[in-house]
């Protein structure tokens, strides 16, 4: 055979290299969809013989459309993103700090000029399933239509009926401040083609009815993966790392796979149910930040059978280890204020003593309420300390199942150096591994979570 000329050889190697790089990029950039891990035995809803996994729970099946719609709106947690702090519900305007700029959620009340009052059923279905608004414009996937596309038509229309039953707000959100090229909405069409296949939920015949209900609640309505699954370069959930945990808007959503150390493998069903429906589980601490919002606006309004279904489903996710998260320290710290390693910045202890100890105790066991218990809390056992710093900065104000809770926010009066010092002290004293936050880290957390 005639040897290849140098020129042809270079061409050939070049072409091969492009193919290989292209394949790697495609593999990296095109993750499986959210339910691919249980791909077998998928059937359409119409062909599924089991009890319906969609809609409101059985106790509400005979209720009117608006009541069923409210249950679904709660389950999809629409209110949290579409309402500003203290603003009228669903009037929009909440800011989302993304790597590409700031996005503001729109008004989804039925106001005809500034809301969705003029939208037909088909317009609303198109927005929720395809991410295309009534003007034909592409929506940004901060609105999780890649999850909502799984919703059955009748559920989407029940949601619309509920939204249209509410008081209208005449309110226009601030314009987005996205950088070029991300301010080009049409590009989201390409994004959708890859990451949001316009496809409804398909039950699995080989799974229990409870699993199918859980899958619908977690993937279609709850869109848990939007926070708990890391994103790829295109900001689409990377389902090869499904539910492994990720940082969103300056808060870390933790691993919710069945992994024993870093996930929920060691949690009992009762603990998971308590955490989801009340925001607190003995031995695991309390939900805070965005997860507390999810509990208060969404999960706590759900039927007990639905919360159980969520747990059933989560138990079947492939377990993945998050490498920096060790199993939480399960026993309380000493009651003695002096028991702490000398390597910790003394300012951390000084601030804890003045501002924290009276509620959280020196042992980390809540003095006034169980909700203040730090023992076993994932955030305290996270050496990145990101959520500890965030809650110290912004505090928490919740009306929990058994009454009002208040963790003051210390961000206004304490410096970044001080917040870093107290977060490092808390992880060292109560957690499995100490954190090493700096003032710069805290400055960045402030920026990410600022509205």
């Amino acid at each position: 055979m005639k040897p290849l000329s140098t020129r042809r050889r270079i061409w050939l190697i070049g072409a091969l290299a492009i193919l290989v790089i292209g394949a790697v990029v495609a593999w990296r950039m095109l993750p499986p969809n959210a339910l691919s891990f249980a791909a077998a035995h998928a059937v359409t809803l119409a062909d599924y013989a089991g009890p319906s996994p969609i809609g409101a729970p059985p106790e509400l099946r005979s209720a009117d459309l608006v009541t069923r719609g409210k249950y679904l709106v709660d389950a999809a947690d629409c209110i949290v993103c579409h309402t500003t702090d203290g603003g009228q519900p669903f009037a929009g305007g909440r800011a989302f700090v993304t790597p590409f700029g700031i996005l503001y959620s729109p008004n989804i009340t039925a106001d005809r000029e500034t809301g969705i009052g003029a939208w037909s059923d088909a317009d609303f279905l198109s927005a929720v399933h395809k991410g295309i608004d009534n003007q034909g414009r592409r929506l940004y996937p901060a609105f999780p239509y890649e999850s909502y596309t799984l919703l059955a038509d009748e559920d989407v229309l029940a949601i619309k009926a509920y939204l249209f039953s509410l008081p209208v707000a005449h309110a226009t959100s601030p314009p987005n401040s996205l950088k070029f090229p991300f301010n080009q909405r049409w590009l989201m069409g390409i994004w959708s083609a890859f990451y949001s296949p316009d496809q409804r939920f398909r039950p699995r015949e080989n799974r229990s009815p409870e699993w199918n209900r859980g899958a619908y609640l977690v993937e279609a309505l709850g869109h848990c993966g939007d926070c708990h699954t890391p994103r790829n370069l295109a900001q689409a959930p990377d389902n090869r790392h499904k539910f492994e945990g990720a940082v969103t808007s300056g808060w870390r959503a933790y691993n919710i796979t069945p992994d024993a150390a870093s996930g929920i493998g060691q949690w009992s069903d009762a603990e998971l149910i308590a955490y989801l429906s009340a925001g607190h589980a003995t031995g695991h601490g309390s939900a805070a930040g965005p997860m507390a919002e999810v509990v208060d606006a969404s999960l706590r309004n759900m039927a007990p059978a639905d919360v159980r279904a969520i747990v059933t489903y989560l138990r079947t996710i492939p377990a993945i280890r998050t490498h920096d998260l060790a199993a939480p320290e399960a026993s309380p710290a000493s009651d003695n204020p002096k028991s702490i390693e000398a390597s910790v910045d003394p300012r951390g202890k000084q601030i804890f003593e003045g501002a924290c100890a009276s509620c959280h105790g020196w042992s980390g066991v809540g003095v006034l309420t169980n909700y203040a218990t730090l023992t076993g809390n994932r955030a305290v056992n996270d050496p990145s300390a990101i959520n500890v710093a965030q809650i110290v900065l912004s505090g928490e104000q919740r009306i929990a199942v058994d009454g009002a809770l208040l963790m003051p926010g210390f961000g206004a009066a304490y410096s970044n150096t001080e917040i870093a010092a107290v977060a490092n002290y808390v992880t060292a004293r109560f957690g499995a591994a100490p954190s090493r936050l700096t003032a710069q880290d805290v400055a960045e957390f402030r920026r990410l979570s600022s509205e």
Binding site: G354, A355, A413, T417
Partner: protein, 144 residues
């Protein structure tokens, strides 16, 4: 340090402090000498002056009320800090025996510790602060 005539009392105050790279100020010691005229109950005078000095230091270090959309943003001690007991430095107050007419003791300490702290910071860093509470960003040498 600072020396002044305050509410008809005479007071001289020395504040010792440290300034770190982030611009945080740590108080080490406060010493005041006061001539407040004839003294009936020296213990009360001492306590009033110590309290006044701490009150002034709180104002100098943290006392800030800010407004947003016409509303005061501070609501309680988590966002309106006070000097806590573990941040309070050692305070020595020396009373000068005097038979003069009595002067004020309540606010005297408060007016004394603010300029004394400000001048101590100037002595330590060369930065002349002109606003309260102290502007830590002007004192920071490591930028965050």
């Amino acid at each position: 340090m600072a020396a002044q005539i305050s509410f008809a009392s005479f007071i001289a105050t020395v504040v010792e402090c440290e300034v770190d790279g982030a611009g945080e100020v740590k108080l080490r010691r406060v010493t005041s000498a006061v001539d407040t005229g004839i003294t009936v109950n020296p213990d009360t005078v001492m306590a009033q002056l110590q309290g006044g000095l701490v009150f002034g230091l709180t104002a100098a270090l943290y006392g800030e009320i800010t407004l947003k959309k016409g509303r005061v943003q501070q609501s309680n001690f988590h966002d309106y800090r006070m000097l806590r007991i573990d941040e309070v430095p050692k305070i020595d107050v020396h009373l000068i025996k005097s038979g003069e007419a009595p002067g004020g003791i309540g606010e005297t300490g408060a007016t004394a510790s603010i300029p004394a702290l400000r001048n101590a910071i100037y002595a330590a860093t060369g930065v002349a602060l002109r606003r309260m509470p102290i502007e830590r960003n002007l004192l920071a040498t490591t930028h965050t």
